[in-house]
Amino acid sequence: MLGWELPPHHTGGMGIVCYQMCRELAKTGAEIEFVLPYTADFSHINFMKINPAVPHDVDEIHGGPVGIGSTYDSQEFEYIMQDGTKRVTPMNEHQSNYAKYAAQLVTLGEYDVIHAHDWLTFRAALAAKQVSGKPLFVHIHSTEYDRAGGKHGNPLVEEIEYIGLHLADRIFAISEATKATIIRHYGIPASKIEVVHNAMEFEPHELESGTNTNSFVYADTMRKAGYHILVSAGRLTVQKGLTQLLHAFRKVVDLRPKSLLLVVGSGDQYEELIELAADLGLSGNVIFTGRLNGTGQEWRDAFAVGDLFIMPSVSEPFGITPFEALAQNTPALISLQSGVSEILKHVLKVDFWDIDEMANKIVAVFDNPDLAQELTLNGRREMFSQSWKKSADLMMHHYHHHVAYRAEPAYV
């Protein structure tokens, strides 16, 4: 299996998904060798073998993704060579290295299938397929089209995705929404794509925050003074729908002046959104926290301080933040354009463009503790009943199918 990250190092959403998916696949009998583009201590993972695909003369790799969903933010990596010197490596070269060394790795072992996660691993995956002739499963967590907020993104990335999707033997999409995108924007026949819904398996003890005080002293104080607090968390990019959120929040503040919006995260829309908030007269009602570490106390506190969490994404292949909010006993309002809205029932949902309805639902939760309580109670119950079992069984079924019925060796 070719991935880009695994927890606890460089943890974005995809890393957690890969970790839980592999844990369940291993339970159903799969032997997994997980190939990563960096070295780290993974001694806590005992259900699969983890191999770094890095140049032989590199000792450690720094940089790369930090914080939430930031896998794609990092453009440069710092290689620490065996001789102690340092070398800054751009993303493209880092990826080429990964492709090259992953392809070398697969010549060393016995494999039945190759399973690759998102475009960053595709060059390695295609090289591996070429070398081994084994069936290639491409797993799509998000496409460049999603990341560009429903517009055309980086053409180089799109081309890599296009080639990977076309040369894959089978495609796993994490939601119906993602499957639709792959069909519509990459010209892949529907019959080649299987929706494998993400699950998020949580244990209650994994989610305890550990402290009784909240890092957001101002928001916490305002809340105690009768303000209601809405929280959003994620990269500040077009994809995340924050422009629409600010317009909706203007309407909320018109009705309920004692309302605050906490915007957690950073990204290329940061300045633009601050300016928009000011233009809308919301400077006193919106707090921008900047980037927070996605595994830290402040991150959890941001969810905990809210009366409601909102994920207003224009396009969100899956989206795990609603779970993180529920973990902190905060109910969630999510856009119908998110993949996770396909599997969650006990959250409020709204079209990202429907700012009137978005505001209506925000106000409803602010005004009515009974609603918040019921959403939280049922939402958490739903969260803790999530399981990868069904998805893992489906993937195993397709592995077996391709291994057993493959008439011809693959050619690339």
């Binding site: 209506n360 409803a364 009515n368 009974d370 609603l371 309580q373 019921e374 109670l377």
Partner: protein, 404 residues
């Protein structure tokens, strides 16, 4: 007293005034909670038109034929005030067809609350007003005065029986629920505890639900059900005087669609039943006078005819439902104090139990049949539109200078 054996067929007719998608921005601006536009899932006119075509008109046509073809056939109906109003407004031909049925003298109308509310459990004065309102509309439209009573969702307990006895009713209806009946059969007449004259008729839920719920279920081992088969099941209780078949009227054509054969089943039922000389049909009040009560029934807890629990948990089981219903009844004295009939009526229409039922989350995980009966995507959306309407009621009180 006869040694006859009677089917007591009792059908319940109801439609609520569904609340439109009513937002926080509407509250304080518009007071048209029930005016969903045509084509929206909450459009009351659309639903009445649809149910009229699928259920009311074809069922009444069959019932009329059954009355004409079988001199002994009789039935009982309860029809809420909220559905009668809507029929007057949207489907007068349906109202006429009910009036024609009642005019045959073979139909008894059972009393209940005008607004199909749970007022009995929250506000006894309001409950009595709604029962009186219902009595008046039944007198006006059908020329009858109810002598039997059923409460919303067939909810029942000792207190209700006591109230109905004091109010002079001859009969009251309840679920024939095993934990209450214990070793007793639902096919006898009973006397509720602490009452003098009133008689209790209990629903035979097994045979009623074979028709109402299971009729078209192809996974049911008895599928397809025929009248002949149904008759053979009634023979198990050949020595018991009553067979209380209580169900929603909309069973016919709406819950069980026409193509399931439900209408033919209905029409065939009296033919085969009456082929046996001792067999007959009775209305609920007739049955209460035809037999002696066989025992006393003690039911301190509230039972209903809903779900496996047979309690009120589908209406008041979660915190949204409880918060909503307590808040609404909490406005009682302020609302009535305004003497504003429009405001008071809006408050009453919000009491209809269906609004609380739509907020039920207990089956939401399974996404089962109940979704079919809700015009909202989720229980949370049902709650939001309701609670915004409630906030608007408070706004209207506030505008009149009344503290809330």
């Amino acid at each position: 007293m006869s040694n006859a054996r009677a089917i007591v067929l009792y059908l319940h007719v109801h439609q609520p005034y569904r609340i439109r998608h009513y937002t926080a921005f509407d509250a304080g601006n518009k007071h048209d909670y029930f005016a969903a536009p045509d084509g929206s899932p909450q459009s009351n006119a659309d639903i009445v038109h649809k149910v009229a075509q699928k259920s009311y008109l074809p069922t009444n046509e069959r019932l009329m034929r059954m009355i004409q073809d079988n001199p002994e056939f009789k039935l009982s109906l309860s029809i809420t005030g909220t559905v009668l109003e809507q029929l007057e407004q949207y489907a007068p031909e349906v109202l006429k067809s009910f009036q024609d049925l009642v005019a045959t003298g073979k139909v008894e109308i059972v009393g209940e609350t005008y607004h199909h509310s749970l007022a009995f459990f929250y506000d006894r004065n309001e409950f009595e007003i709604q029962v009186q309102m219902h009595r008046e509309i039944i007198q006006r439209l059908f020329g009858q005065t109810p002598t039997a009573f059923r409460n919303t969702e067939l909810s029942y307990n000792n207190d209700l029986a006591f109230w109905a006895d004091q109010a002079g009713y001859k009969a009251i209806l309840s679920e024939g629920w095993d934990p209450v009946l214990a070793w007793r059969s639902p096919n006898f007449l009973y006397r509720p505890k602490n009452t003098e004259n009133i008689r209790l008729l209990t629903k035979n839920y097994k045979l009623s639900d074979d028709i109402a719920f299971r009729f078209s279920n192809q996974d049911w081992k008895e599928y397809p059900m025929t009248v002949t088969k149904f008759m053979s099941w009634t023979k198990d209780s050949w020595d018991q005087p009553l067979l209380n078949l209580f169900m929603d009227y909309e069973t016919f054509g709406e819950h069980q669609w026409a193509d399931s054969g439900i209408f033919d089943f209905l029409e065939e039922l009296p033919k085969q039943w009456l082929a046996t000389p001792e067999h007959t049909f009775m209305t609920v009040s007739e049955a209460s006078e035809a037999f002696e009560p066989s025992d006393e029934i003690d039911c301190p807890q509230t039972i209903t005819w809903a779900d496996n629990e047979r309690d009120l948990s589908a209406w008041i089981g979660n915190s949204m439902q409880q918060g909503a219903i307590h808040s609404l009844y909490g406005l009682h004295s302020q609302i009535l104090g305004t003497n504003d009939l429009v405001l008071i009526e809006d408050w009453r229409k919000l009491q209809t139990s269906d609004h609380f039922y739509y907020m039920c989350t207990k089956w939401f995980n399974d996404g089962d049949v109940h979704a079919y009966f809700s015009p909202y995507k989720t229980p949370y959306e049902a709650y939001i539109s309701f609670i915004n309407s409630y906030h608007d009621l408070k706004f209207r009180l506030h505008e009149k200078g009344i503290e809330v």
